[in-house]
């Protein structure tokens, strides 16, 4: 039997305290790109009890994603936003989730992300990361942006760090480990970086910057 909304809320309040949980429940966060970073960020935020999540990706789940992305074989070929929504609803059945199966561009970013207070950049391609970052910082001032750069391979865990670049922009990663033929993305380091991003968002919501 599925627990009631009140039971789940009460349990979160017991874990986090009511003051903290009220802030988390009122927060709206967008995750742009639902690959290794984005799928793990969204799950971490949902488990923490974020009130509203906005999941955005233009891609479908592929077999090559399963080494690091939070999907299952039954999700193959499904649009990532809806596959991830269904996964989140299995453990957080009352989380409000908006999905957009669309490619973000300079043209549609301002309107698509207008409602979201906290935005996670979780794209794969460097040029797309730069495009989203520049677009949000230029056209959506006041939004908090938490991005990522450099998390490939299996090397040093502790070189992945969170840096405050601007008052509203944080960047996680080691800044240099790029995806290339002999140095691909692996689940642990991608998840470390995703956890940095999710933790930064939680800190911003609760008013404790890193």
């Amino acid at each position: 039997m599925i627990p009631t909304k009140e039971e789940i809320q009460r349990t979160l309040e017991q874990r986090h305290t009511k003051t903290v949980q009220d802030k988390l429940s009122a927060a709206k966060a967008a995750v742009c790109g639902l690959g290794g970073l984005g799928s793990a960020i969204a799950i971490a935020l949902a488990r923490t009890g974020i009130g509203q999540l906005h999941l955005i990706d233009f891609d479908r789940v592929d077999l090559a994603n399963l080494n690091r992305q939070q999907y299952a074989v039954c999700d193959l070929d499904r649009p990532k936003p809806e596959a991830l929504r269904d996964e989140i609803l299995r453990f957080s059945p009352y989380c409000k989730i908006r999905t957009d199966f669309v490619k973000l561009t300079e043209e549609n970013i301002p309107s698509l992300l207008s409602e979201d207070e906290y935005i996670c950049e979780a794209f794969d391609a460097a040029e797309e990361k730069a495009m989203l970052t520049n677009c949000i910082l230029e056209k959506l001032p006041g939004k908090y942006l938490v991005g990522a750069s450099g998390m490939a391979g299996y090397g040093d865990s502790n070189s992945i760090q969170t840096r405050k670049i601007l008052s509203t922009y944080y960047l996680c990663g080691d800044g240099r480990s790029e995806i290339c033929s002999e140095y691909g993305l692996m689940a642990p380091r991608v998840m470390i970086c995703a956890a940095h991003q999710a933790n930064t968002v939680i800190g911003l919501i609760l008013g404790k910057e890193n």
């Binding site: 970073l37 984005g38 990361k129 910082l137 998390m151 601007l166």
Partner: protein
Amino acid sequence: MVKINGEEVQAAGKILIEYLQECNYPLKRIAVECNGLIVPKSQYGIKVLCDGDKIEIVSFVGGG
């Protein structure tokens, strides 16, 4: 002197895009902030680096 990514550089008087090109920054893979504010892409060819400016150039690498 201009402080760029934490280092003092003799670049005062240069246009931002000149500096970026001299240093071979990939223009489509960067974001630039100056004194705590983002520099819009449209300003790269106009923004003159001034003595005392604090610049941060973020170069993105792929993976996510």
